[in-house]
Symmetry: C2
Amino acid sequence: MSRRLTRAETKARTRALLLDAAARTFARKGYAGASVEEIAEAAGFSIGALYSNFGGKEQLFIELLTTRSSALIETAERIRADAEVEDPAKALGRLLVEVADKDTDFAPLQAEFWLYAVRNPDVMQTLAAGLREPHDQLSRLVEPVLDRVGGRATAEPGEVATIVLALFQGLVRQRRTDPASVPDELFGQALRWLFTGIAAGSER
Amino acid sequence: MSRRLTRAETKARTRALLLDAAARTFARKGYAGASVEEIAEAAGFSIGALYSNFGGKEQLFIELLTTRSSALIETAERIRADAEVEDPAKALGRLLVEVADKDTDFAPLQAEFWLYAVRNPDVMQTLAAGLREPHDQLSRLVEPVLDRVGGRATAEPGEVATIVLALFQGLVRQRRTDPASVPDELFGQALRWLFTGIAAGSER
DNA sequence: GTCTATAAACAGATAGAC
DNA sequence: GTCTATCTGTTTATAGAC
């Protein structure tokens, strides 16, 4: 079964390795701060290989920005699965700690994407589109919780999902800045307060 | 009363103009993407003037990072004043719309600060220290609200302030990405839900 | 398809004139 | 104190060998 890779397969592998290395390098050095030589080296290739697979630094970054939302989707899927057997607030709280403490490249890379999009308005809709699917998935996670607490009349699932996502991103960054100010349980606690508040609002 | 400026005063003025130009340029092009020539030009000076006032690009950026928290403090002050005559949630909601829509350089510059600090751990404590005073001020704004709803027993003002700040930053970014997903009243609404939830939590 | 060598542009920083 | 001119290293991107 193990056979020699076809030309198309090795090329796809090279591309994938370059994209991975680019993600790491852009996260660690920033878009402008990372050089194509650095990226190629991190992937174990030369500059020439990079240019034969991508149009250049900018095109490589854009491709990363366009495709890396799928990573978010996978994460959202996992959370949705976890949330079926335990408290969703707890599952999301755990995710925050993991992302903030373990996946140290995640938040910086997202920040780079956002900054690039702010500075290149054409790309902003690409970023927004990439964030839509994870957002929808979060909405579907929020929906049953809203139904359970009877807050469906007061709050739109999509808007609550936006709030949850904003809180998540803000707290991840804050935890990197000052870990002590964002204890492990803070995100989960905030979510419980939020849903309790929505539930109470519907009773008025 | 209008007299010629002393040498010390003109130098101080040059420094201030350079710092302002640096803030704008770093926000628009990023730390690595902005050139010292660009910054000097935006301030109406030459490269030489920049180097005679600052150690270099890096030192200029650090000075900006260190001193620009005072801008946050002034904003926090203003909000605190507004919050005494109207609903704090409303005052904060208005601030979010203003910052996201009018002060277009604010969020990108904060993102640049954070990214630089993530990549230069020595600077992280400087950033954290600069954020502490605005955070404390927000805590003092939150405290009376907590007292009023009777949530003082359930929630620490400092932790609630962290949540409010994270939500604020997250929503400002999200509003730049997709304005329609963050309507004007969303932040205020989220805050009301949060405080209602805290109040309800204390009654259990 | 990937590598090495190189071209051309540009960056940060310094020196000396004024 | 600020400006102009320049030095030095680095960058993106390409051309041609293998």
